[in-house]
Symmetry: C2
Subunit: 454 residues, 2 copies
Amino acid sequence: MTSITPQPVDWDVLASELAGIELITEPTQIAKLSLDYYHFSTVLQAKLSDKRGDLVVRPLNEAEVLRVAAACVKHKVPLTVRGAGTGNYGQCIPLNGGVILDTTRMSAIRWIKPGLACVEPGVKLAAFDKQARATGWEMRMAPSTYRTATIGGFIAGGSGGIGSITYGQLRDRGNLHAVRVVTLEDKPRVIGLRGDDVQKVNHAYGTNGIITELEIPLGPAYAWAELIVTFDDFMTAARFGQALGNADGLMKKLISIHAWPIPSYFLALKNYLPDGKHCALLMIAESCLEPFQDLVREYGGQVTYQKTAQEASRGTSLAEFTWNHTTLHARCIDPTLTYLQTFFFTLDRVEKMYHHFGDEVMMHLEFLRSNGQAMPAALQIVRYTTEERLNEIIRYHEEQGASIANPHTYILEDGGMKTVNVEQLKFKEMVDPYGLLNPGKMRAWLERAKSTIA
Amino acid sequence: MTSITPQPVDWDVLASELAGIELITEPTQIAKLSLDYYHFSTVLQAKLSDKRGDLVVRPLNEAEVLRVAAACVKHKVPLTVRGAGTGNYGQCIPLNGGVILDTTRMSAIRWIKPGLACVEPGVKLAAFDKQARATGWEMRMAPSTYRTATIGGFIAGGSGGIGSITYGQLRDRGNLHAVRVVTLEDKPRVIGLRGDDVQKVNHAYGTNGIITELEIPLGPAYAWAELIVTFDDFMTAARFGQALGNADGLMKKLISIHAWPIPSYFLALKNYLPDGKHCALLMIAESCLEPFQDLVREYGGQVTYQKTAQEASRGTSLAEFTWNHTTLHARCIDPTLTYLQTFFFTLDRVEKMYHHFGDEVMMHLEFLRSNGQAMPAALQIVRYTTEERLNEIIRYHEEQGASIANPHTYILEDGGMKTVNVEQLKFKEMVDPYGLLNPGKMRAWLERAKSTIA
């Protein structure tokens, strides 16, 4: 790592070069802006809790971003980009200090057309979605942190979420149309990437350029009713979820299935979640509710909660109990809990793991589409004991054919990606020759650096 | 069959009982209204060409339908319902003469709400779709006879079509919300069926009641661009179709793949269909065209034709070269050609059959969703020689694991359904105790009648 910041940095000089751009130098505020939600992971807590940036910059536009980039290159200072900091893997934690670039002031919505929009990275998902819905369209997918997260943060650090049961994940072709990025070359410039080329910066934790603009596709805005359906038996709930995912005639945005005792962590919903019952938290198009009831009947479910889209828009959305908000609610009750992220691919495998681990790994399924098929992904809640036991649990899943996107690592490739993306690495060599962007996160870069030094 | 019409009918008396309802008694017109497009099948031609109704009635509303039903019951006269007569299996051919009930004057659109509409059966699909689109919605699926077919005819005699790659088929839960039917009981009445109960009359060829009103779901109205993409190799075209079907981030309405020489039958498109090339006829959301081009590039396709939704709406739609319009165009050039309808389930099986039969069974794939998965269905063009050879071809497909929905039969169960639907049979016993509705089409009824007589 020492190769990245060989010289002591004169922060006053650097700050003076950024005159006119909003800076934060107050340590408490910097500390706050050096955080995300990595504390969901006991493992990451230990590794990241002392990491701090040295200076926060809050540019207003691309021109200011270019100036920040130039200053960082000149002083060879690490630069880590953040949105709202709602990630869970330390994606935006500055491992080597340096400048934190907060994008939240760059929140313009440039245009919204039928099916497509152009935005700055710092716009909040909920704010943008509201404007899109006024035109009859909406974001195709969003994380459960929808109310606070930014689009740039979601693209750079997320993978999918509510809506993925219809549109797949962010990495799927068509779910991100274009990005503009500022480079950290000796003379920083703006590069526009379109089509498949966007994959060079998609889900790269900001290691491959500073995103300054995005074109993202929209889906038609249905009126989404919110429902809770309860089941006596967990696997029946899981099969119901799969059947709903497969039901081409029923439009849905969310299929989130929770084995008891997970529902016991949802205090605000406790009137609708009888003791010992497993539940499905769902978003279903209002116009599909009648045939949907037949599906519920077929699987012997009980609808305990139902709100129209209008009613749901006034209170807390059920979405805020799903995806990684499930973990959040569980940890509010029991902070020793942590979680896993798993692709099971089949319900048979879900059933095997459900019985194998019992209460130690509480089953939380999120159905999503992958290459055209609805399948059970999971963010299981784990009763944490030791890192060794956690790794044992992960290993057992992998031995049984499940695929784990380890949430207990801040290394890009060790999370969801698994393999080094040669295209991303090559692109980084061009746009970030000094390795200043979010250093320490991309294994391929670290290993290349090592071999260069050796 | 003789049990159905035991008495000679006094048509003048019957006609006088229907005073005030539009009747057609002129033989040429009756002959015309006793036809559909069964002539696509050489086998059906031989069996159906002499079938005629005795009287055509054209009711204006449900009250008139009730009067027609009462008269038919009183005189024990067969009653066969028809829409525009665009079916291909003799669905509406009156096997035993009798009254033909033409629904085309019952064409009211009762209401259109977001995602759902209520219509009378005789409304033309194109006319209805135009009104729906003005509200931002459209029919989820339509046959290639979209411009002339009626909704009632599509529901009673169709199975899916353009749009099925997104929404599955008509039989899938949620693709038909409710129907009202008039019975042929001693005292005819109206029965409303909702939810799963609609399956009692869905795709029953009008054997289970006279549909007088339908609630059908709508999909959001995208602007659908129309494209032709050509390929050097057929299986590459087929794999491209599957990949597009699986691409959750690309919105599409039609994936129709044609092996050469089928494109040579599309005379109006010949400037876009180079000799010897295989082609894909596609409808893609305009907002998805940019990432779509990357998919084309990945599979080495050539876009030879591209129209915006606006441009496409002015001329002939590419949809009118797909589904069973493909067969129509082929038979215009060579009337000895006929066709099959096949579920291949996998591309491996497509490839095997493609090589096995060569030019005798020309491959025409239509991708559709079935239980959540995009899969290759087919309406292959067959060089017809004899009925024996046709059955041999069908048998070979079935031995290899493909499922054939035989289009060379007018028997409900021998087409797509395969098994007797006990619910439908029971319902028919109630609503049509004399077996007057479209007699001779439902095998379960015929066999029940036989066993009752024996």
